[in-house]
C-alpha cells in the first residue's frame, strides 16, 4: 500500500507546486470563498510585519490567528508553500492510516458478530469484505488530496490547511487509541478555532468503546475516564494558551482570536450564513442572534451523540460536517475536510447523491460569477450571492442528512434483515423522520 500512496502524494504535490508557480496563485489567494479573515495568508504576513515593527500583531483588525502560528511562520515564512503542502500531505497520510486501522476494527467486530450469528440471513450482501475495502484508505487520501477545494485552499495558503492537519492527526490518534495524544491534538485544534470542541464527545465515546467501558452514567469507571480525558484536554489547552501568552507577553490574542470567532465582527461575504444576517440586523438584536447562531453549531452534539453512540467514528465525521457548515467563517478548506466521510459509509442506499453533487458543482461554479456580477459589474447585489451561499449550504446539509440516512438504514438492515416486512407480512420501506 505504500507505493500507491507515495504515487498519490507525488501527484498531489506536483499539482500544487504547478499551481503555485502559475499566475493563478495570487488570484486564488484573494477569493473570499477560499480565504476568510481568520485564515488568510495575507493577514499572517501582515501580522509578522507588524511584529517586526515592534507592534503587537493583534492591534488593528488584521491578524486573527493564534500566536503559535506566528511562532511557526516566523521561521518558515520563506518556505510557506512547502509548509502548506506538507500539511496537506500529513493530513492525507493521517487519514490513510486512521482509515486502515478503523477498517481492521470494523472487520474484527463483523467477525465477532458473524460468529455470534447476529446478522439476519438475507443481508449478507451488506457485510463488508476485506477485498472491497482494500482500497478505501487510498481512496480517502486521494479524495482529500485531489479535491479541488483542498487544492484551492492549499494554493491560497490558507491556514485552514493547518487546522485540517491537526484534526486529521486527532482522528488518527483517537482511532489508534492514544488518549493523551488525542487530547493534545484536540486541544490544539480547539485552540486554533473553537469549534472542534464538539469533537470531544465523539472522541470520548470512541475511546470508552475501545477500552470496553460501558457508557453508563452511574458507573464510576465512566466518570473516571471522562475526568482523565477532560483533565488532559483542558490541561493541554491551558498550557498552550499560557505558552502563547509567554510568546507575545500579552493577553490581547484572546479577544482577537476567540472574541473574533465568537462575536463575528467582520462581515465580509463568504460561503457561510452569518454575514448576510448580521449585515442587516439591528444592534438591539445582534447579541441574541449571535447566541442563536453559535449555539446552533454546538447544539447538534447532544442528539447526534445519543443516536450514534455505537458508531463514534461516524459521529466524528458528522460533527466535522456540521462544524464546516455552521461555523462563523467557513471556507472551502473546511468543506473539503467534511467530505472525507464520502467513502466511509456505503453509498448504495443513499437517495439523492447525484442531485446534491450537481447542486454543489453548480454552486461552486456560480460563486465567482455572481461575485463578479455583484462587485465588479454592479448588476447583481448581495442577495444573489447569498442565494448561492444558501443553496450551497442546503446542499451540504442534504448531503449530511443523506449519509446519515444511508448509514442508519444500513445498520437497520443489518439488524432487521434486508427485506423489511410489516407485522402483517407486506413489504415496508424505511423513512427517515
Amino acid at each position: 500500500m505504500a507505493a500507491p500512496l507515495t504515487l498519490l502524494l507525488l501527484v498531489a504535490v506536483t499539482v500544487r507546486a504547478a499551481l503555485y508557480r502559475s499566475s493563478l496563485a495570487d488570484l486564488i489567494s484573494e477569493r473570499v470563498e477560499v480565504v476568510s479573515p481568520l485564515t488568510a495568508w495575507k493577514r499572517v504576513v501582515e501580522g509578522l510585519a507588524l511584529l517586526d515593527l515592534g507592534v503587537s500583531p493583534y492591534s488593528g483588525d488584521v491578524f486573527h490567528e493564534t500566536p503559535l502560528i506566528i511562532y511557526l511562520f516566523h521561521f518558515l515564512v520563506d518556505y510557506a508553500e512547502i509548509t502548506f503542502m506538507l500539511a496537506d500531505v500529513i493530513t492525507a497520510v493521517a487519514l490513510y492510516l486512521s482509515v486502515k486501522d478503523y477498517n481492521k476494527q470494523v472487520f474484527r467486530k463483523q467477525k465477532y458478530a458473524l460468529e455470534a450469528d447476529r446478522y439476519p440471513l438475507d443481508c449478507l450482501e451488506l457485510i463488508r469484505s476485506p477485498k472491497e475495502m482494500q482500497y478505501i484508505p487510498l481512496k480517502v487520501a486521494m479524495f482529500y488530496l485531489l479535491n479541488p477545494f483542498t487544492i484551492l485552499s492549499c494554493v491560497a495558503k490558507s491556514t485552514c490547511g493547518l487546522n485540517n492537519a491537526v484534526i486529521a492527526l486527532f482522528v488518527l490518534s483517537t482511532i489508534k487509541g492514544n488518549v493523551l495524544l488525542s487530547a493534545i491534538f484536540l486541544s490544539l485544534a480547539t485552540y486554533q478555532s473553537i469549534y472542534p470542541l464538539t469533537l470531544c464527545a465523539a472522541a470520548l465515546l470512541y475511546l470508552l468503546q475501545r477500552q470496553y467501558i460501558p457508557v453508563n452514567l452511574r458507573r464510576f469507571s465512566f466518570w473516571w475516564f471522562v475526568a482523565q480525558y477532560a483533565f488532559m484536554y483542558l490541561g493541554s489547552l491551558f498550557v498552550i494558551v499560557g505558552l502563547s501568552f509567554f510568546l507575545l507577553g500579552s493577553w490581547d490574542f484572546l479577544p482577537s482570536v476567540y472574541g473574533f470567532i465568537l462575536s463575528v465582527p467582520d462581515l465580509t461575504p463568504n460561503i457561510g450564513l452569518f454575514w448576510y444576517f448580521f449585515a442587516e440586523m439591528f444592534e438591539h438584536f445582534r447579541l441574541f442572534f449571535l447566541c442563536v447562531f453559535q449555539i446552533n453549531v454546538f447544539f447538534y452534539t447532544v442528539p447526534l451523540s445519543i443516536k450514534l453512540k455505537e458508531h463514534p467514528v461516524f459521529l466524528i465525521f458528522m460533527q466535522l460536517a456540521v462544524i464546516s457548515i455552521f461555523k462563523s467563517y467557513p471556507t472551502v478548506g473546511d468543506i473539503a475536510a467534511s467530505f472525507i466521510k464520502h467513502h466511509k459509509a456505503s453509498s448504495a442506499s443513499s437517495l439523492n447523491i447525484f442531485l446534491v453533487s450537481c447542486v454543489l458543482l453548480a454552486c461552486s461554479a456560480l460563486f465567482p460569477v455572481l461575485w463578479h456580477l455583484w462587485i465588479y459589474a454592479g448588476s447583481a447585489n448581495s442577495n444573489f450571492y447569498y442565494a448561492i451561499t444558501l443553496l450551497f449550504n442546503v446542499a451540504q446539509i442534504l448531503l449530511v442528512s443523506d449519509y446519515f440516512y444511508a448509514f442508519l438504514r444500513r445498520e437497520h438492515h443489518l439488524s432487521h434483515g434486508l427485506y423489511l416486512k410489516r407485522k402483517d407480512g407486506s413489504e415496508a420501506t424505511l423513512v427517515l423522520k
Binding site: D52, L180, L243
Partner: protein, 380 residues
C-alpha cells in the same frame, strides 16, 4: 425691448398717472426679481415634476425675469431621456399642446448637482468662491424672490433625488438666514408635493408668503397621463397654475388673492393652502408680477443735475525712501541633516527563549510518553 417700451409709455403718460397709482406702484419696495425653481426627483416616471418646474420657468421668463436671475435646478433630464418618445420636448398637456422645454432653457443645477446642500447653499449664498454667477442667487435686500419646489414629499419633509430629505425646519432656518443677511425683500414660496402645507408650517421670518398644493395628510395628484409618452405629464396644481399664469401679462393687475383661488378642491382633489400671516403687506395689494415678473420700477424725477464742473486732479508726491536691504536666510524647520543619518535599525522580532524552551520540552515529553521510555535508552 419690453423694458424700454414700458419706460417710454410711462414717460409719455407720466403727467397723467394719478398719485394713487404711483403709490401702488412703489408700494412693494423691490427693485429686482429672482426665481429659484427646483425639481427634486429623478427617474423617468417623475416626468411630471420636471414638467411642473419647466412650466413655472417658462411663465417666469415670459413675464420678464431673465435667465441671469433664475436659478433652475432639475434633478433629471426628461427631454433627452432615452425613454422619451418625443426627444427634446417636455409637454405639459396631452395632445402635445404646450412644449414647456422650448428652445432656450438654461438649467443651472442639473442631475446629481441638485442636492439639499446645494439648494441651501444657493439660498443662503454660502457657495465656494469658484461657483459661477449663473449658479448663484445674488439677491439683495430689495429683491423679491420666487421659490418653487416640486417633487415627492411628506409631512415635514421633501425628498431629494430619492436619497435625502430636507425638513421644514431646515427650510425655515434657511429663510431666516436669508432674512438676517438681507437677501430678500419679499419671498413667495410655492410647493407642489404631497402634504405640501407641512413645509411652510415652520416659517418664522417676516415677509414670507407661502402656497402649497395640498394640506397635511392629503396627496397632491397628477393631472393626466399621455398614452404616447407613457407617464403623467403634470401635477394638477401646477397645471391650473400654469393655466392661470398664461393669462398674466407684464402689466396685469392680478393680485395674490387670485392666486389663492387657483385650483379649488373641485379641480385639484386636494385642498391647496396658503400662509400670509408673515407677510407685512395685504396680499390683495401684492401683484402677481411682483414675484412672477420682472417689472422694473422707474422713478420719474423732474430734477436736473449739473455736470459741467470739471473734476479736480489731485497731485501725487513721490517720496523716495531709501530702504535698507537686509539679507534674509531661511531657518531649518526640522533638523533634516540630523534625521536622515539616523534611520532606526530594523529590529527583528524573536520569540522569547523561555517560550522556545517550554514548547520543545513539552513536545519532547509528549513524544516520550507516547512512545515509551525505552527509546530513551537508545539515545543515551
Amino acid at each position: 425691448m419690453q423694458l424700454q417700451l414700458f419706460v417710454i409709455i410711462l414717460f409719455l403718460f407720466s403727467p397723467l398717472v394719478p398719485q394713487e397709482n404711483a403709490g401702488q406702484f412703489f408700494s412693494s419696495g423691490h427693485t429686482n426679481n429672482w426665481a429659484v425653481l427646483v425639481c427634486t426627483s429623478r427617474f423617468w416616471f417623475n416626468y411630471r415634476h420636471v414638467a411642473n418646474t419647466l412650466s413655472v420657468y417658462r411663465s417666469v421668463k415670459r413675464l420678464g425675469i431673465p435667465d441671469s436671475h433664475i436659478v433652475l435646478m432639475l434633478a433629471d433630464d426628461m427631454a433627452c431621456n432615452h425613454r422619451n418618445p418625443k426627444p427634446a420636448t417636455v409637454f405639459s398637456h396631452k395632445n402635445m399642446e404646450l412644449n414647456v422645454y422650448g428652445d432656450d432653457v438654461e438649467v443651472d443645477y442639473r442631475g446629481y448637482e441638485v442636492t439639499v446642500e446645494n439648494f441651501l447653499r444657493v439660498l443662503t449664498g454660502r457657495l465656494p468662491p469658484s461657483t459661477p454667477r449663473s449658479k448663484r442667487l445674488l439677491s439683495d435686500d430689495r429683491s423679491n424672490i420666487l421659490i418653487y419646489l416640486t417633487g415627492h414629499g411628506g409631512n415635514g419633509f421633501l425628498k431629494f433625488q430619492d436619497s435625502e430629505e430636507i425638513s421644514n425646519v431646515e427650510l425655515a432656518d434657511a429663510f431666516e438666514q436669508m432674512w438676517q443677511k438681507r437677501r430678500y425683500n419679499e419671498l413667495l414660496f410655492i410647493i407642489d408635493t404631497c402634504q405640501g402645507a407641512s413645509m411652510y408650517e415652520r416659517f418664522y421670518s417676516p415677509n414670507l408668503m407661502a402656497l402649497a398644493s395640498s394640506q397635511v395628510g392629503e396627496d397632491s395628484l397628477s393631472h393626466q397621463p399621455d398614452l404616447a409618452i407613457g407617464v403623467h405629464l403634470m401635477d394638477r396644481y401646477t397645471f391650473y397654475l400654469l393655466e392661470f399664469l398664461e393669462d398674466i401679462h407684464p402689466s396685469s393687475k392680478a393680485n395674490m388673492n387670485d392666486l389663492f383661488k387657483v385650483c379649488p378642491k373641485s379641480q385639484c382633489v386636494s385642498t391647496p393652502g396658503h400662509r400670509t400671516d408673515l407677510f407685512l403687506r395685504d396680499p390683495g395689494s401684492a401683484l402677481i408680477t411682483d414675484f412672477f415678473g420682472s417689472v422694473r420700477k422707474v422713478e420719474i424725477t423732474m430734477e436736473t443735475i449739473n455736470l459741467t464742473e470739471p473734476i479736480q486732479q489731485v497731485e501725487q508726491n513721490f517720496v523716495n525712501e531709501e530702504r535698507q536691504k537686509e539679507t534674509y536666510s531661511y531657518v531649518d524647520q526640522l533638523p533634516v541633516s540630523e534625521i536622515i543619518h539616523q534611520k532606526p535599525k530594523q529590529k527583528d522580532w524573536h520569540p522569547p527563549d523561555g517560550f522556545i524552551l517550554g514548547l520543545w520540552t513539552l513536545i519532547l515529553l509528549v513524544f516520550f510518553k507516547t512512545y515509551g521510555m525505552k527509546h530513551l535508552k537508545h539515545i543515551f
